[in-house]
Symmetry: C2
Subunit: 322 residues, 2 copies
Amino acid sequence: MPRDLIAALDIGGTKIAGALVDGSGKLVARARRATPAQEPGETVMREVTAVLDELSGSAQWSRVAAVGIGSAGPVDASVGTVSPVNIPGWRDFPLVAGVRETVGELPLALVGDGVAMTAAEHWQGAARGRTGALCMVVSTGVGGGLVLNGRLHPGPTGNAGHIGHISVDLDGDPCPCGARGCVERIASGPNIARRALEGGWRPGPGGDTSAAAVAASARTGDPVARASFERAAQALAAGIAATATLVEIEVAVVGGGVAGAGDVLFAPLRRALRDYATLSFVSGLEVVPAQMGTDAGLVGAAAAAAQQAGLDGFGTPSRELG
Amino acid sequence: MPRDLIAALDIGGTKIAGALVDGSGKLVARARRATPAQEPGETVMREVTAVLDELSGSAQWSRVAAVGIGSAGPVDASVGTVSPVNIPGWRDFPLVAGVRETVGELPLALVGDGVAMTAAEHWQGAARGRTGALCMVVSTGVGGGLVLNGRLHPGPTGNAGHIGHISVDLDGDPCPCGARGCVERIASGPNIARRALEGGWRPGPGGDTSAAAVAASARTGDPVARASFERAAQALAAGIAATATLVEIEVAVVGGGVAGAGDVLFAPLRRALRDYATLSFVSGLEVVPAQMGTDAGLVGAAAAAAQQAGLDGFGTPSRELG
């Protein structure tokens, strides 16, 4: 029996998804549980184990070569623990040890969810074939991951690419992370809505105060709604430009619910990028929408595990010098 | 004859230095010319050739295995050109082709001066043995370079680590680069002095308006001088924290004339870093002074060339997965 599948987990505050992923990125088996996010840590772990039990009960389990876990962060791949902001029962929780109880000694990789999404976009999405890329999710929060030298760059703890918590406004509003003026504090969906409301924006039908409702108003020309998206775009541009200036990337891939606003976000984002990405070696930087759908977390966790285990296929690039 | 030396060039707005560097980092031959920075590009190139001629006339030249060039930036290693801000006659100047006229087909690496300094600190200085490091020069400008996964990360064009031109104050003062609120615009020596003067600081003996004179006043307790260094420290901290949050580094190494202020800079810098480096995986970040002296550019250019050519010695780490 060839070992040609990877078992993938995508763990967030809402759901725990699992799949067996083949070398073309197809999900050949799936399992899923709701995350009991407010329960004690052991209760959450039981649901992870239930997902794994379902997968390992499948006839294909004997083909599994490695296990990839993408988790809401922060994670600590160096010791195998996770502390997801949205799962309070998990603080320095030994997720890897818990998963090993089901999967045994298979090669295993743990990365943050932004890193997993990046691996998926690099393998099969908008960052395919790129040597340097920043992939971002702009949604309730702002997360991301990096491709450098043609390879995923998870960093020693699996958290690299955390663009939501770099400060682009050092005297700005306090961020829940403890710093000030973070990209997320300006550009996340809730902050786009908050700023619009503070400016006098009238919520959408049924009192809808989502960023999507702000985007709908912006599309009809509402100046307050447009201004809130423009401010978000400015913060994203400063963060993307900083990343390009620091590590050299060719492309920034932007996904997540806020990216669903389309040109309401992307047009001012591309304009603002010209203001902040000024040096010759970053001025050609492209910004494109993400291409992977809701399975990106699973596909990417598989790709990250394949890269870490040195397996062929799964988008693993040939090894090259940095 | 063993090929165990690397020919190194360090090209800046003031001087063109050259050396033959051995595997222990010793400079076994040297040459040096003033940079005719305001002359036409070909005149500047003639001085580079003069330095190379002097080196290639040495008995040891036959031992040279590779050539490393560190140049004031921006550079473009992908096409072999340089456009140093301080050498106006060089815009997209084909420096690599010019050097090849003397050195022939030896393996050759071109990197920015911040990258070269970083290679030196990683090989023999304050970043030795580190898996992830940001090395910075805070002086007339603010430059830098990165070590990721235990290796120098020059980026495809040799400019990675340009921390001086990331914006940490997106609505801040215009920077000559075209952006706003760049780290350099707040933290460079001339900007420390400018801010102190604007606040009413009285210049040092003989009308000395250098950052060193501001540091001397700060040491005697002058509140305006201290405040100017504290603001610089805050911008540097925001930039260092952003770097750590994006790529995961263990240490930031700070050198250059402004770092010579010692605790006047490092004490507020370490304090400010606690305000901006808040996520678990960056909160252990250290900040230390640079250790390499004035030959860092030459030693580092040699190390960068050795890494790129895959030569052993010269601090070249064993190849590892990213």
